[in-house]
Subunit: 279 residues, 2 copies
Amino acid sequence: MKIITSPKEMKDFAHSAKAEGRKIALVPTMGALHEGHFSLIDRAKELADIVVVSIFVNPTQFGPNEDFDKYPRQLEEDLKGCADHGADAVFTPSTSDIYLPDASTFVVEEEISQHLCGKSRPKHFRGVTTVVSILFNIVQPDVAVFGDKDAQQVAIIKRMVRDLFMDVEIVSAPIVRDENGLAISSRNKYLDKLERIGAARIHEALLAGKKLVDGGSLNIDRVKALVINSVTNAKTRVIYVEVVDRETSLPVNEIVPGKSRISVAVWFGQTRLIDNIEI
Amino acid sequence: MKIITSPKEMKDFAHSAKAEGRKIALVPTMGALHEGHFSLIDRAKELADIVVVSIFVNPTQFGPNEDFDKYPRQLEEDLKGCADHGADAVFTPSTSDIYLPDASTFVVEEEISQHLCGKSRPKHFRGVTTVVSILFNIVQPDVAVFGDKDAQQVAIIKRMVRDLFMDVEIVSAPIVRDENGLAISSRNKYLDKLERIGAARIHEALLAGKKLVDGGSLNIDRVKALVINSVTNAKTRVIYVEVVDRETSLPVNEIVPGKSRISVAVWFGQTRLIDNIEI
């Protein structure tokens, strides 16, 4: 497995692979890799000849009071995980490799990004679309694999690719959960053992909402209220619960079974967790 | 010469050319082609194996009260000019081919675009960077050629390419002038014969400024005042006169001979004209 830090070297690697007619898949990550990420690498292996995992804790997608500094960094362990899952290259540039001090160009999505997480994290998605554009231009993937846990992110990236005619296919892969149902996330590291068990309540609340819909109740307010009530306890503070279109992640006024999703973000103690379920 | 309207067909054309190892040059235009554009096509011919000229009057770079509707359109004549100059393909999509009704993604440059034309045309450069990104993704050029008349545009596109790691080289080509010194522009069509002769005053004013600097005067205020006074007459209204860095087009506080540029925008009657000169 090749470990590449320089964008120039990464571009050369991609050019050579493409010149040989090989298909490249990219799995963009911020490191702190877990079973969720590994499932994306496994999916990428099925889709392309060459799998590149990028590991880059992207400063522009963190707000000023967010957890950029304490975001978990564990490169050695991550590299081992990538190798174990058969990645062909890991691209792990430094911040200054990606952003020059006078960088002034951004890619912005202005509709989907206004909702859900975009409301409480105003510049988050602009950071995401910018860095993903940069990574696409450097790694030149034919396909890129993202996790469904970040369903709004997937929708925004698909919109960006469509609007700007980017030459890459976006594939998303199912949420991976721990034995208690908690969606696996790098931020789960912030939780202690008891909190981690307690946070399973988020998935239980989503399941309760889904059960209501499956039982025939299409009243959005009732479904949202049930999820909010089910998720709320002394440790949690709900940021949002929304019913959205499954493709666009845009909030909807009517539940369309088979085409909708419940998306949720909660503060669990000091930790911001998101999750979602298709309904 | 191939005439292509569909982005999909244009992408296929580009993919085939690249698979054969051929280098592609793009000359992005809004049509109404003149000697300035033809000089760009000629330059592109020197730089690549395949020259693609795009003709697309881009609505997102026009303000609500600007001349989108009356911008000159003359496709037949343009196609003939492209053929005469040896273009291999003309890409001429419709507005709806490029922008879906719910398009919501934009590429923005937020430093250089704040100055000069960006002040009086607030969303202009955002339209430019967005459409140029789209064209780059569709045509996949190795090199793209722009005219120095739009020096700020060139600087912004170079910045965008640098910041987003786009895989394209930006080349600019010298301003082409008519026999009176007026920089050739599609908007010169708005001028009647007498106005066209009178508008040569813009270049004369820039030459006067340059002469002052060549003579040893590095006082910015004096240079700007001379240009403003020289350009002003009953028909003109100065929008800006600025001394800028030649590479970045950012306003400077000191003239550095050999590294600066005087940039000017004026209303000449109902017509907005820009011009610049290296000093």
